[in-house]
């Protein structure tokens, strides 16, 4: 060996594999404005479609007159439910087993519901056309309050379901009832409450909000009449599922449908569902024979495509005087809006809300969820979280604080007392999950030590005394949150979407020069897959990440996968990538053995190639193996070096974390300052620490938005009054606090590389941390639970209601 031989460290560094803070390769085009988004798709002769929407939350549609609209120069067609009925598309199936109107069929059920689709030569003409469509409505009484939805005299919303006493998830109790979902042992839980020394009960609401990605939902549909093929460019988090759904509902052969998701400007769950815009653009293209583009504006996005949350959770904990929890009982009233369009795995009407026992060892628990219809937009997507996991984490983390307050215990101490212990993993929860791994005590103690938790509590006590003496008008809150997420949907035994098992996939094709291309069934919307996926392959097969091209989003080239949401990409596709890489490596080993003239078992893997055990100079690099794979394979072996893996995970993964928010609130103005926010995440093996940190920053910023002001609010007449960023809180760099990030590493035992997923953890853990900080600040004034969002006005009002402000 001469001096030029690279060291092991140098060879490893060149790979930029797992654990490397590799710079995001996609940023080269994003930072230069060279991304390629749906709105950048411009086809010859392309038309533009836009919606006539209902001003009423609940009304009969008596008549739609499009005669004046069709006279507007440039307007070519006005599509209504009547048009869609001719192709049997006036209604479409939802992911939750319900049906949804594509265009108003006799009735509108929420404000801004799609009523007609105007197609024109440009967007301006389409909008002029919209102004000329005359719709005659007969207003009906709106149902806004979910708590009144099952009153005997509540208006009937879904006339199409008249007489149906059973829905997709079992019996319906009322004409506005969708499902009841129960989990756990009711008898045992009721018994635990009967003999409990201490109980708490609180109705904890997680308000309706919206993922509001910067790029709204949009598509371009182009139907080729000659070939009978439909090509759809769209903002799809799950392109393959869209292809299958389109094939099933439009009765087009699946091979004739090409779905392409180009660069996506944020999804956060909003881009999982199928929306009327997609169907109408496709039908319009079939009708006109021209490509049709549909692009939502901001108001449409906030008020009509999928909302998130809207769970009203009546929560009870039973405990001993010493603070050991003995039972959990939760009833959820879930406001689903006009149609049940929740994006959950099909068998889970309330997602994985049964993770509500959180990080604690509850001997018994019982959960019941009632889903109801109201005159609000449909949706119920997982806004930067796994399915309904944010709601569950908020529920249990608020409730633990309320219990701590009742017991006069420190909330961190109460949590430490009730955590599932490291030796209990794999842990079977009272509501049916098998937690794969965890070390909660270590994470919690690290958080407390790093933040100086004890000193902060002391400072809080001093400040409270000063407040009582009238020396300050500022109160201080410490928001503790310890969450366990359940991500990586999921095992085919319990997860599917419309019958499609929730596996994911990867195909790797190596080229002769030691480079390659890898395609996955996932779709990045900003997560940085092009960077991290290549890093997994780099470590697994010893080819530099820079030499691996990652491609996603084209259903013609990518292997079938269920897409990116619910933090499933790393747990499921990440595993498929490792498994495909290992297939490549196995074939490479056979080639290397042949070339080095030894038995396969005599070889050992060494960073970027195979070495003969005991003979360090006999080495063949992966790069050379790639060349040999095409030109000098062993006799009888097929040439080429590629592999496909479809990965059906054996279990979910369970990331966790310990967060602390330190907040100061001025009682006279309600103005809060986030003095400090510390987030410790354990996502198992860390593929790219820089990307993890970026994900945590983004997730915390969205958590901050939701907890402190972001809301989709309806007035009592059914108007949605938060239709723009003037009223819907979207934090900018000005409002966003500074984030401190930290980590522990507890690898997932069943995942090929031990990774668990991280993109959504900060939203799951962040919201309770902020809310607990506000509630903790007010607790000494007598507050037990103040509902979110905690904007300045509500903080001021809380202070006033508690008598702290005259």
């Amino acid at each position: 060996m001469n001096d030029m031989t690279p060291t092991r460290e140098q060879r490893e560094a060149v790979l930029e594999g797992m654990g490397c803070k590799r710079k995001r390769v996609e940023d080269i085009r994003f930072t230069q404005g060279k991304g390629n988004y749906v709105d950048d798709v411009k086809l010859p002769g392309m038309l533009h479609g836009d919606f006539v929407r209902s001003p009423h939350p609940h009304a009969r549609v008596k008549k739609i007159d499009d005669s004046e609209a069709l006279k507007v120069p440039g307007v070519l067609a006005v599509i209504t439910a009547e048009t869609l009925k001719t192709v049997n598309l006036a209604w479409m199936p939802t992911l939750a087993g319900d049906v949804q109107m594509v265009l108003a069929d006799g009735k509108v059920l929420f404000q801004n519901q799609e009523v007609a689709f105007v197609v024109a030569t440009d967007r301006y003409a389409a909008d002029d056309g919209i102004n000329k469509v005359v719709v005659e409505y007969e207003p009906l009484p709106p149902l806004v309050d979910p708590f009144k939805s099952m009153d005997a005299d509540a208006p009937v919303l879904r006339e199409d379901l008249a007489g149906k006493t059973t829905g997709a998830h079992g019996p319906r109790k009322h004409h506005n009832h969708i499902f009841e979902w129960t989990v756990g042992d009711k008898e045992l839980t009721d018994a635990a409450f009967k003999k409990a020394e201490v109980t708490i009960k609180e109705m904890i609401s997680y308000h309706r909000t919206h993922p509001s990605p910067l790029e709204t939902c949009q598509c371009v549909c182009s139907f080729d009449k000659i070939k009978g093929e439909l090509t759809i460019w769209g903002t799809f988090q799950a392109p393959h599922v869209i292809r299958t759904v389109v094939s099933l509902i439009a009765k087009l052969p699946e091979q004739k449908i090409h779905v392409i998701a180009p660069d996506i400007g944020g999804g956060f769950g909003n881009k999982v569902g199928a929306y009327p815009g997609y169907i109408c653009a496709a039908v319009a293209s079939i009708v006109t024979g021209k490509p049709v583009k549909w692009v939502e504006d901001r108001i449409e996005n906030l008020t009509a495509t999928s909302f998130a949350r809207d769970y009203h959770m009546t929560t009870e904990i039973a405990a001993t005087k010493e603070g050991k929890v003995t039972g959990l009982r939760v009833h959820v009233l879930a406001d689903h809006g006009a149609f049940d369009a929740c994006a959950d795995p099909s068998k889970w009407p309330a997602g994985f809300f049964n993770i509500v026992t959180g990080s604690y060892d509850f001997p018994t628990a019982h959960l019941a969820v009632d889903g109801v219809y109201t005159n609000k937009a449909p949706g119920g997507v997982a806004y930067r979280c796994s399915f309904r996991v944010t709601e569950a984490a908020y529920c249990i983390e608020r409730a633990m604080d309320i219990l701590a307050q009742k017991l006069n215990m420190d909330p961190a101490e109460l949590r430490l007392k009730n955590f599932i212990k490291p030796e209990q993993f794999p842990y079977h929860s009272a509501l049916g999950w098998e937690y794969d791994s965890g070390d909660y005590h270590t994470a919690m103690r690290k958080m407390m030590e790093t933040t100086g938790y004890a000193a902060l509590r002391k400072e809080q006590a001093e400040k409270r005394a000063a407040f009582a003496r009238g020396e300050t008008r500022e109160i201080m809150g410490l928001g503790v949150s310890f969450f366990t997420e359940i991500v990586g949907a999921g095992p085919s035994k319990n997860c599917d979407i419309l019958g499609i098992a929730m596996f994911d996939s990867c195909e790797i094709r190596m080229h002769p020069t030691g480079a390659g291309i890898a395609r996955m069934g996932t779709k990045s919307q900003g997560q940085g897959h092009e960077t991290t996926w290549a890093q997994i392959i780099a470590t697994e097969i010893g080819i530099p990440a820079d030499n691996i091209q990652v491609e996603e989003g084209n259903t013609d080239t990518a292997p079938y996968g269920l897409g990116t949401y619910g933090s499933r990409s790393t747990p499921v596709a990440g595993a498929a990538i490792a498994m495909a890489a290992r297939k490549i490596k196995a074939k490479a080993q056979m080639i290397a053995a042949y070339k080095l003239e030894v038995h396969e078992d005599d070889l050992e893997w060494d960073i970027d190639g195979f070495r003969v055990k005991g003979l360090p100079e006999k080495f063949m690099s992966m790069k050379d193996i790639c060349w040999a794979a095409y030109n000098a394979v062993p006799p009888g072996m097929e040439p080429g070096l590629e592999a496909v893996s479809y990965y059906d995970p054996p279990n979910m993964t369970y990331p966790f974390g310990a967060y602390l928010c330190v907040m100061d609130i001025d009682v006279d103005t309600g103005v809060y300052k986030v003095r400090r926010f510390y987030a410790l995440d354990d996502c198992g093996t860390r593929i790219n620490p820089m990307i993890i940190e970026g994900q945590v920053h983004g997730g915390l910023t969205e958590a901050f938005a939701i907890a402190m002001g972001q809301e989709i609010r309806y007035d009592e007449t059914g108007n949605v009054v938060t239709g723009s960023f003037m009223d819907f809180f979207m934090p900018t760099a000005v409002e966003t606090p500074h984030w401190e990030t930290d980590f522990t590493v507890t690898p997932s035992p069943h995942h090929p590389i031990g990774a668990k997923g991280v993109g959504e953890s900060p939203n799951v853990g962040g919201v309770p941390a902020f809310s607990n900080a506000v509630n903790d600040a007010f607790s000494f004034l007598g507050a037990t639970h103040i509902q979110m969002p905690h904007d300045y006005w509500r903080n001021w009002k809380a202070a006033k209601d508690l008598g702290a402000v005259a």
Partner: protein, 152 residues
């Protein structure tokens, strides 16, 4: 949304009552009113330009007078549609009280509902805008009636 207020008018109750039933006076006093036509007994159609915050729209609709109790008061109600800007409906119960032979106090209780884009974009401005518009209407009504009385 509800508003209650009163306006002191230098005219007799009968004169005020007459003006309340005069489409020309109403047209002059309704803020943004472009046209007001009588279509039947106690029924009119109106075109009004209405502006709340960033939304400005032309509303076409019906105005109806009901619960007529001359010369003590009535209910004036209207509903209209502004196309994509949304819809508005509402009314006012008007009650006249003689303070003296030539001074009348007009009491009004307004209730109004608006929907769609106006509410989505202008929610925070609606109450103040509506209060302002109602105030403008009754203020100019008092002026118009006052001027009429002087002219007689």
């Amino acid at each position: 949304m509800q508003m209650n207020d009163s306006q002191r008018i230098p005219a007799s109750r009968e004169q005020v009552w007459a003006a309340l039933n005069d489409p020309a006076v109403l047209k002059q006093c309704i803020p943004g009113c472009q046209a007001l036509e009588v279509t039947g007994p106690n029924e009119m159609t109106a075109t009004v330009i209405f502006k709340v915050g960033p939304v400005k729209a032309t509303f076409g609709g019906k105005v109806t007078l009901s619960d007529l109790d001359p010369p003590n008061g009535y209910r004036i109600s209207g509903e209209g549609s502004g196309g994509v800007a949304g819809f508005a409906k509402g009314g006012a119960v008007v009650r006249l009280e003689s303070e003296s032979a030539d001074v009348t106090v007009l009491h009004y209780e307004v209730d109004a509902q608006i929907g769609s884009k106006l509410a989505q974009l202008g929610a925070r401005l609606i109450n103040s805008t509506a209060t302002k518009l109602a105030g403008e209407f009754f203020k100019s009504f008092a002026e118009v009636v006052g001027v009429r009385v002087e002219a007689v």
